[in-house]
Symmetry: D2
Subunit: 362 residues, 4 copies
């Protein structure tokens, strides 16, 4: 290329460069050659870091807030987001995922609203709360996964005399970053305060492969809003039993896993988040895996260890940990371990960007 | 256009035409102008006719054959096809569908084979038979729908002391017409003679929306091979209850209906056939409907009347009737009516040919 | 199984069997064990046979009909179907495909109609005819493929002083067998008798990858109705050139092939038929291949030999041959060979029934 | 809910709250009730702002850099990103899109590399550069759109004696935010320095609807890498002519628009970005529209005005402007106007989040 006569390292050249960069800055221009490595790394260099929150810490804090802060219109929810230490300023677990502890005191009601953000609840313990989704009351009980696909009105009510805490997962960061958020208030009290054992969506969609003829077309998100623990547990149990009987089913040795899917498509239950449940048999150790989806996990039952990029985190009931993109992950348990997980895989996969590598067993 | 000088109706012209048509025939040519109306009617003019077979007639005939004809290699199955009177020579219910009564005597075994034809069994009554699909024994009981997607080895065994009869549905005519049939013998005795309460495929796929992570990709046909009556019944009951509670779900007033679907896609459970179950509340009458899919129906429970192109057929337990393409159909019941049905809709729909018209309520 | 005391080969048994079979016949029942081999062969046993028609025979016959039979309402088209000798009684090339020579005399007009059957025209030679599809006049010239997807009004007019003959392909047999045919008359004279160089659909859709923003959604059949020879020829030429330059592109050594596709989906241009063009370099011989799709081929240019299930057929300009399902096919040419082809592959493939085997090079 | 006896506004309550919030902060917890409005606005509140850069300013700055900064390994490209004033610190046009001016001096070579980020080039003016994509040299000329789908090696070389500047579009921000970036160096000099008139991909894929049989399956990104101006121009001209002839085709009155698509799917040419070209007839004014996709536009030809959320920006040759999510946009021209545009619509649309509203004509 043509260059200044004076050479690239002359004072004149440096001065001209400085002036050029100032002129760039004045109109908001940034040279790629000065930023390429940061913008386009050789492999993902997430700002989010592997992190674990102890349920033993989270739960008392959430409980304290119930004594100090009411649930009501405006604030909408007594939900406390878990902010990744690598993403200061934003209360985000990963760049795409929001994870929060929601806490509803006895007899409390969280007002109805709707938003384009997709949401789910995973219930670590307790019962007595109904979430009302587009007028359909859905019981929330231990081990259940409850969906609120985007733009459905929903509120919660606790009809019991005990508080209840659960894990909320939303795509708030993704929707915020891409400016896709719409929000609308609904009634201040849930529109149907009945507490049926089984919601209407479960009555219509709750049996595998039995689809209402009146609604057989594909829908972007699942019309089934509740995935009950008894079913999830049975499926995990079956995989491990089948492994022992010599048949396929498990994801890896001693490692059962299910994905929660949309019965109208067979794909992910929500458009932007993939939810799943994993069970490790006592003594199992997974092969190291890394994937470009980011994820959040919660210990549902048992104890164990997760190793994230070489760092061990011990796991106990309710603990929540986050796995950033491309973080090597190994799970191990001596006692048996049940883990709930959600990730942004549907986003990444649909855009043909998902990469996953599995290492050798150790 | 240029014509013979002698005009179109002259003897010379007729002689020339006759000669032309003879010359056409000699090389296998057929003028469209002499056949257009038959080849391309204004609307479907099926050769198949509406027809009903009485279970009271079919079942004794099937039973008699058990005393006279063994089940074994070569004949393969004691299945007796129901031939539409409009399709003489071919034992086909409709141009695409084969329906048969299959009968297995006590302690009998039907040898394993596989074929590209898709198949299902619908069990009108009884139990004690297991169908073994690719080595996975699947119990067959009253009201159940059991699948054998194309090219899976399968055999049946009756482990009980009573005979059992069921409805077999296959796409034999479609596969025959399009020359897609492959067939292969398997073991003469089912390879797994165990009789588990629940098959392996049910243990892996039997819960709505709970998908094995190890097998989450879309599959052309359903990996779930058994759709149990208890689930089907509950779904139909729920639709009618929801109707009474003022909520959507039913297909029409007093008319519940489900479709059996593939949990990996949400689409039809088999690639070439759509199976469903309908329930009419006592007193219900459906609006007249006609569709270009052809179908076969079996009365599972209750009594009623089906009107096909203006002709009434009374319906009793086990009766089988056939609805050709574009045949106006109305169902009515005073007592309540449960109907199993299967059709070629997946073929027609995927090719963008399906038309359906619903008439006014009467 | 239980049997008659008298044994299976006793006269009593035979008499009972005869009586049973008579009783079966009386209600239209056919035992599978007496028909299984015919209904469910080990591999496809098409009734259709490999066959070739000589253009040198077909064309004069078509021309003679122009002197004797007018084109007009009722007969609709001067099209003469080529009936496979294996399918007597039906003027079908294969069980799913209809192939015909259509002939339009100078200044003739074929009236408008529409039907659910999909159709195309492939022009062996000549020009001067416009086909008017939903009011859009489309020029027909040598080497062009022109589409008439199902249920579009269409008529033809010859504005020249010379007759024109072309190959018509339709899914008439498939639509007839499955009872999906609807037909409707349109104007007796084409509604737009203009003769533009380029049709409106070509102006909107004729450039690869340039999609009208107003019509960007997927459509079952192609909105582009004309695939011009210049483009097809260039694509085939390019594949053979790329082969010589050492780059991928050809289907096999010395064997270029294109498929005509729907620009809104990338899939087949018509819902039920796949059309393509093949070019063999002088001296090329294809590996033997057999597939369960059935197809019809027409020699566009050059000479050669096709071997169908071991029988050689010499190929000359305009010759039409038919390849039934699962018929081993080899092409060879000393001089170079261009072949147009159409098949029912979209039907078979969508139903997951398509099998294709390629043998070793010889 | 239960509250502190002292009431919600007591000093004790405030102190307890402060302590709670401190304790939250210590473990990275953020209450939704204090952040909901920011995280979940009633409608998109993009930080990115409407903004326009003048080509008259951008081009000289890019040219100056050619005298001061070489192109080579490490910096990789002389590309200068346009940073939205609302997104300080990040050189991003919108939260998902990167837009840059790339400048290649006479006889310069930009080394090969590949990355998971998808990229395209749009050529405002000039020629003489070839971009080599996976070894296939693709000429870049005025008005052309050239693709580099993710993970394809690519380099550029200018074989002429004049510099060339063009617009680069990439999904760098989206890939960075979601941590999906992989990057790899290739040869320092493009591996094929030939300068063919037509690239190999154009020879294989450059004709509408003519698909190589050897590569007929769907591919996530377009195998056609070059969309030539002559074709784009002809398509836009045709739409406006068809409008005057009374036929459909235009997007709105006097407003032609095309989308660049992937011939193997009919969908967007790239997985994460939608590219298009718009033409307004002299005197045309579009209806106001707002959509949740964000986009960048460049004036290719003509002059006019864009009104973004009520602010007018005059438009001249080469000017680049950015339209954040949900920004009301109106275009007007007295002289005629050609605009290139790209957006993140494929991302938003696949996740069922895309909303678009069109206002009344003014």
């Amino acid at each position: 290329m043509t260059t200044l006569d004076t050479g690239f390292d002359s004072p004149q050249h440096q001065a001209a460069l400085t002036e050029l960069y100032d002129d760039f800055a004045a109109v908001g221009m940034t040279p790629l050659w000065r930023t390429r490595e940061g913008l386009m790394p050789f492999s993902p260099e997430p700002r989010a870091v592997p992190h674990l929150w102890r349920w033993a810490e989270l739960h008392p804090l959430a409980a304290r807030s119930a004594d100090l802060v009411p649930v009501g219109r405006g604030g909408e929810r007594r939900a406390i987001g878990l902010g990744n230490p690598g993403l200061p300023g934003d209360p985000y677990a990963t760049p795409t995922l929001w994870a929060a502890i929601q806490y509803l005191a006895p007899r409390e009601n969280a007002p109805e609203h709707r938003h384009t953000q997709s949401a789910f609840r995973f219930v670590l313990e307790g019962d007595g709360v109904w979430t009302v989704v587009d007028g359909d009351p859905v019981a929330m009980r231990r081990g259940d996964l409850l969906l609120t696909p985007g733009w459905r009105f929903h509120g919660h009510q606790n009809v019991s005399d005990t508080p209840m805490a659960w894990l909320d997962g939303l795509d708030i960061p993704f929707v915020a970053t891409t400016d896709q958020g719409f929000f609308e208030f609904g009634p201040e009290v849930v529109r149907d305060s009945s507490t049926p054992e089984r919601s209407r969506n479960e009555r219509l969609w709750g049996s595998a492969g039995v689809t209402p003829e009146s609604a057989a077309a594909a829908q972007p998100a699942s019309p089934l809003m509740a995935y009950r623990w008894a079913n999830t547990d049975a499926a995990l149990t079956a995989q491990l039993e089948l492994e022992q009987e010599g048949h396929p089913g498990v994801l890896g040795p001693g490692h059962a896993a299910v994905r929660f899917s949309n019965p109208t498509t067979g794909g992910d239950a929500l458009t932007t988040m993939r939810m799943g449940m994993h069970r490790l048999r006592a003594g199992a150790r997974t092969r190291p895996v890394r994937t470009t989806a980011s994820s959040v996990w919660q210990v549902f039952d048992g104890t164990g260890t997760v190793t994230l990029s070489g760092t061990d985190f011990t796991l106990a009931h309710g603990d929540v940990f986050v796995v950033p993109s491309w973080t090597e992950t190994t799970l191990h348990t001596d006692t048996g371990l049940d883990l709930f997980t959600f990730s942004d895989a549907p986003i990444i996969e649909r855009l043909s960007l998902l990469r996953t590598e599995t290492g050798a067993a150790r």
